[in-house]
Amino acid sequence: MTTIDNRPDLPSDAGPEGQPVLSARGLVKTFGRVVGLDGVDLDLHRGEVLAVIGDNGAGKSTLIKALTGAFVPDAGEITMDGDRVHFKRPQDARAAGIETVYQTLAVAPALDIASNLYLAREERKKGPLGSVFRMLDKKGMRERAEQAISDLGISTIQNMGVAVESLSGGQRQAVAVARAAAFGGRVVVLDEPTAALGVKESGQVLDLVKRLRDKGLGVILISHNMPHVWEVADRIHVQRLGRCAGVITPDSHTMSEGVAIMTGATQLSG
């Protein structure tokens, strides 16, 4: 796929058996007396979709925020490809190759698609126009944005010059995912990407998620929608009461079994 920044080459031998691209051990985060995370482990491999499910207050968001630098965990360690990392701000996680698609999408509605893809990462023209006058390379960004969009097989978006606010909900979501995919060196985190979408648009976004995985990225998907999770996830991390209640797969457990684990009606042995 087109790389917009200098993406490190993906090792080809990495699979679910290899070294995880992102790994967390014993994450703890408390808010006063409330325990948000109570020693959570998580492993994410290249080329897999790891879904994170859990009831409200189970610690899904806290877990994701700890992994993406929005919170600094009180204890525990995070490694990427075996190297210990410390994220103090979301920018740190982004610099390490973790892109997050927020539920609110974090797009500027009045700006066009290319500007949104490159928001806070604008590229300047070569030569003195760029270095002295700090002039943007609008044409180049537009072309590369178009390439990034078409690489993801998003056919519903054609013109990179239109304002994001004139797009439908699914198209906006696609822009946000494309931004993450274009810049996400190693990991893309999607927070409830289908929550606000209709049936058809949800399907398109799920296709995008699969395509990110096929490109070799590690994908974390937070969702309340069990059919969507069972459709795209390779493994499912079930979060319950600040802990990981277990990791299952769509083949090993049915949806209702997953929900039972999530709510504590049944417990995984071991």
Binding site: L119, F133, S168
Partner: protein, 352 residues
């Protein structure tokens, strides 16, 4: 609601009810929608249209309106407000508002003049100190908005009084005449003779301000960030933009522009008076709004603002030439403001 419809119902081919109307809406654009999209993509179109109509109307009323002399005078009268309106545009683009614009310009102007006559500072130094004063005043507004996190309306309402009081206390209410100051301070009043169409160096300076800010907004990353912050500050933050830094830089840049406007004002008025341009606040906001920049932030630009400033001044000149009572100018400007905001609201509802 006479008949139940479902989302998945196929487009009705025969019945011209609301069902097929919705389908039409989704598929094809009505002429009104096409206009809406056009205005959405190019917000300077509506003020440009209004300006053309204004010129046509006043030329019909009195053909002297279209003469080079009148237009030259019009530009000279517009220069100061047009310059202040650039700073106002920047702040309104971030969904803020600056009520202290006139007060900052006056403090800056009085500092320039007083430093020159009281301390005998050479022209460039007096100018520098005056502009620096305006930057400091803008910086104070910016600090209160970004660090103390007060709404811009409240901050600048307060600083309007503060800066006005400072200007009056500092000068004792006394004006400074041009002849007493360093010549550089009134350089902006120099006339460049272009035959029947003389312009002042002040107009050129304002033109340069427009070019620089227009370039910065349209062609640099900083400009993108100003729009993004004004559009949705939280989204901009999540995307990795330092919202505080962008906002603060906007207030500082506005300060520089107000300082330059103060310089243009000395040249225009031939004196520095602490009671000058009391109407600057509303007129600069009016120019920005008529120019199509949204008071809700994130859309608009300086081209529209320039058109807006010229439109407002055209009414003053045109109605005078037509022999109409000057109060009608106020009336007309009021109508234009309401019209402009209505158009903006309509454009903001645009959907594909």
């Amino acid at each position: 609601m006479t008949q139940p419809r479902t989302e998945a119902a196929p487009a009705a081919t025969t019945e011209p009810d609301t069902g097929s109307a919705t389908k039409e809406f989704a598929r094809r654009q009505t002429p009104a929608q096409r206009i809406q999209h056009l205005l959405h993509a190019h917000p300077a179109i509506s003020p440009a249209l209004i300006l053309v109509l204004t010129f046509a109307m006043f030329t019909l009323l009195n053909e002297r309106f279209a003469s080079p002399t009148t237009i030259s005078l019009l530009l000279q009268q517009t220069a100061v407000i047009a310059c202040l309106a650039v700073g106002q545009t920047l702040i309104i683009l971030t969904a803020g508002i600056d009520l202290s614009v006139g007060a900052i310009a006056i403090v800056s102007m009085m500092v320039m003049a007083k430093v020159s006559i009281d301390h005998g500072a050479p022209g460039p130094l007096a100018l520098l100190i005056g502009v620096a004063t305006a930057v400091a005043a803008g910086g104070l507004n910016g600090f209160l908005v970004t660090k103390v996190k007060l709404p811009p309306f409240i901050v600048t309402l307060g600083s309007l009084s503060i800066f006005t009081a400072i200007a009056l206390l500092y000068t004792g209410g006394q004006s400074v005449q041009q002849v007493d100051m360093a010549p550089l301070l009134s350089w902006t009043g120099e006339v460049i003779p272009l035959g029947a169409f003389p312009i002042t160096t002040g107009i050129l300076l304002v033109g340069v301000v427009y070019l620089v800010v227009g370039f910065a907004l349209g062609q640099t990353a900083w400009g993108r960030h100003v729009y993004a912050v004004g559009d949705d500050a939280e989204a901009a933050r999540l995307a990795g933009i330092s919202v505080t830094r962008v906002l603060f830089s906007v207030y500082l840049a506005a300060g520089v522009i107000y300082g330059l406007a103060a310089w243009v004002l000395i040249g225009r008025a031939g004196a520095a008076s602490p009671n000058g341009i009391v109407e600057a606040n509303l007129e600069s906001i009016t120019a920005v709004v008529i120019g199509g920049t949204s008071l809700f932030g994130g859309r608009g630009g300086v081209v529209g603002t320039l058109l807006g400033a010229v439109i407002v001044q055209s009414f003053a000149v045109g109605l005078f030439l037509a022999g109409v009572d000057d109060q009608w100018r106020l009336f007309a400007v009021g109508v234009l403001v309401i019209l402009a905001v209505s158009v903006d609201q309509w454009i903001r509802r645009v959907r594909a």
